[in-house]
């Protein structure tokens, strides 16, 4: 099990992720915006961040840059409804890119992959 931070402006999605990833045995913290995530990161260090891109205020791309600037080793999975951002050079420093879907199988698999690569408990 790992400590995850889910950053998404969609409240229902946050609750779904909290439930589903919690069922996988992970400890899940939530943030509703890039700015809130950065606030949380001042006092805690999750094992992995799941980061939405399209959010009001600071979007996920800007938040990614700031998160990595503070801690370049922080694992980040971008998780967005759009596949178009995948071509955006600014997203290429993330550990993985997962397009949102009702079924979280792919996301869960990527979480396992990234944690494993980093030598963290899955």
């Amino acid at each position: 099990m790992a400590k995850l931070l889910v950053v998404d402006d969609d409240k229902n999605l946050r609750l779904l992720y909290e439930q589903e990833l919690g069922d996988e045995g992970h400890e899940v913290a939530l943030a509703s915006s890039g700015r809130e995530a950065l606030e949380l990161l001042k006092n805690s260090r999750p094992d992995l961040i799941i980061l939405d891109i399209s959010m009001p205020g600071m979007d996920g791309i800007e938040a990614l840059g700031k998160i990595l600037a503070k801690d370049k080793t922080m694992p980040v999975i971008l998780n967005t409804a759009y596949s178009t951002y995948k071509d955006n050079f600014m997203t290429w420093s993330a550990d993985a890119y997962v397009v949102k879907s009702g079924d979280l199988t792919e996301l869960k698999a990527k979480i396992r992959d990234v944690l494993k690569t980093r030598g963290l408990p899955t």
Binding site: L68, F89, M90, S93
Partner: protein
């Protein structure tokens, strides 16, 4: 067809190094802005290459002490490049601190911190140049070479003597010029050329990257503990992982017997490269109209040489003359003698003084009866009447920087009692 590729190439000139080994010439200016050859600044050679190669889109990445560099580019080069309607431009790009709060940690980090610019421009190829080398090169030919080989990255290389390898990146290539091994600054036993055991194939710090390969590599490198350097980290990693890394054999547009490429990284190297220009046939040719070297200067009156007393037997004569020298506009050689020296604009040589083997930068004045030899006098310094510089090593060392080869450097703003 090739023209379209040139149009889709973005050029980044890395002009942010501190140039510490050129101190004190870099005390108040970035290395690319250090004056060279009387009229020029070091970056003029790279920018002239860009113009002569029909390069269209140029960003100059600046960092430390960039004021005089910015000013030079804006006043001198903007009008030569900028033509928004035909998609040509030169822009100065200081660190935007979009990602972090640090300045560039290395050349790869400089690219990583500007990925936003690459995303906005979406070029197919990125040409990366150093802003601090003296050479003539057609970058369009290197780009064509890169495209033909479908390379991920192409590194421009020049054959150098084995003894210089410890300061450079050394490539080992096969018969197709694909790089199979890359040593960055090898301390001993550098890998030599197969047909010449005394020479190495050295990287000139000039790269053409296919944009996606560049972005992937620098994005990955940014996540690692690394020097974040293209030569030290990115290129060796790409070679190790069997990416398509090619060497481009430097083709010298200088058209002399020996290829000319100088890093002028040290004061002694800088001094020698300047002095070469005073030779009857210099190694580096500034006079080739097919490869013009441009610069910027405000306008000055023509150089003037006055006082012409006939040469006498014993007492010093008042005679304004310069021999084996480069003299820039606005200089006045008034009753003194200059030999084997490089004089920038608005230099003033006063009566009965003697200047030999010197580089005098803009606005330097040499007082009456002063004697100066083997010295670099920085911008605006006024050498007082009767001063002696370059004659007494101990006295010089007490006041100035003296290099290993014995070149005295008198820095800007040096007051004389």
């Amino acid at each position: 067809m090739f023209d379209a590729q040139l149009k889709n190439t973005l050029t980044l000139i890395l002009a942010g190094g501190q140039g510490e080994r050129l101190y004190p010439l870099t005390r108040d200016r970035a290395k690319p802005a250090v004056p060279f050859g009387g009229m020029y600044r070091i970056i003029d050679f790279t920018l002239s290459n860009c113009l002569n190669s029909e390069i269209r889109k140029v960003y100059v990445l600046t960092q430390y002490k960039s004021f005089s560099l910015d000013r030079h580019i804006i006043l001198g080069w903007s009008s030569l490049f900028n033509s928004p309607e035909t998609g040509r431009y030169i822009h100065i790009l200081p660190p935007q601190q979009r990602t972090g709060q640090t300045w560039y940690q290395g050349t790869a980090d400089a690219i990583y911190q500007n990925i936003y610019t690459l995303e906005r421009e979406r070029p197919d190829y990125v040409l990366i140049l150093a802003g601090d080398h003296i050479y003539k090169m057609n970058y369009a030919e290197m780009l064509r070479y890169h495209v033909q080989r479908k390379a991920d990255v192409t590194v421009s290389c020049v054959a150098v003597d084995k003894s210089e390898a410890s300061q450079l990146g050394v490539a080992v290539v096969d018969s197709e010029n694909r790089i199979h091994e890359f040593q960055e600054k090898p301390k001993e036993n550098p890998l030599t050329l197969p047909n010449d055991p005394d020479s190495c194939f050295a990287s000139m710090g000039i790269y053409v990257f296919t944009t996606e390969a560049l972005v992937r590599r620098v994005s990955g490198d940014a996540r690692k503990d690394s020097a974040h350097d293209l030569g030290r980290n990115i290129i060796p990693e790409m070679v190790r992982e069997n990416a398509r890394v090619y060497a481009y054999p430097f083709k010298d547009e200088n058209r002399k017997e020996v290829a000319y490429w100088r890093d002028v990284g040290t004061i002694d190297g800088y001094y020698e490269a300047n002095m070469d220009l005073t030779e009857v046939t210099p190694l580096f040719n500034l006079y080739d109209e097919s490869w013009p070297v441009r610069t910027y200067h405000e306008q000055f009156p023509p150089a003037k040489f006055v006082f012409s007393e006939p040469l006498g037997d014993d007492q010093p004569v008042r005679r304004g003359q310069a021999l084996d020298s480069i003299v820039s506009p606005g200089a006045i050689i008034s009753g003194g003698t200059v030999e084997h020296s490089v004089l920038s604009p608005q230099v003033r040589i006063n009566s009965y003084c003697y200047v030999k083997d010197c580089i005098l930068m803009e606005g330097v004045s040499i007082g009456r009866r002063a004697q100066v030899q083997k010295a670099i006098i920085d911008k605006g310094v006024r050498i007082p009447e009767g001063a002696m510089i370059g004659y007494d090593a101990e006295a010089d060392r007490a006041r100035f920087t003296v290099t290993g080869d014995g070149v005295v450097v008198v820095p800007k703003g040096m007051p004389f009692a």
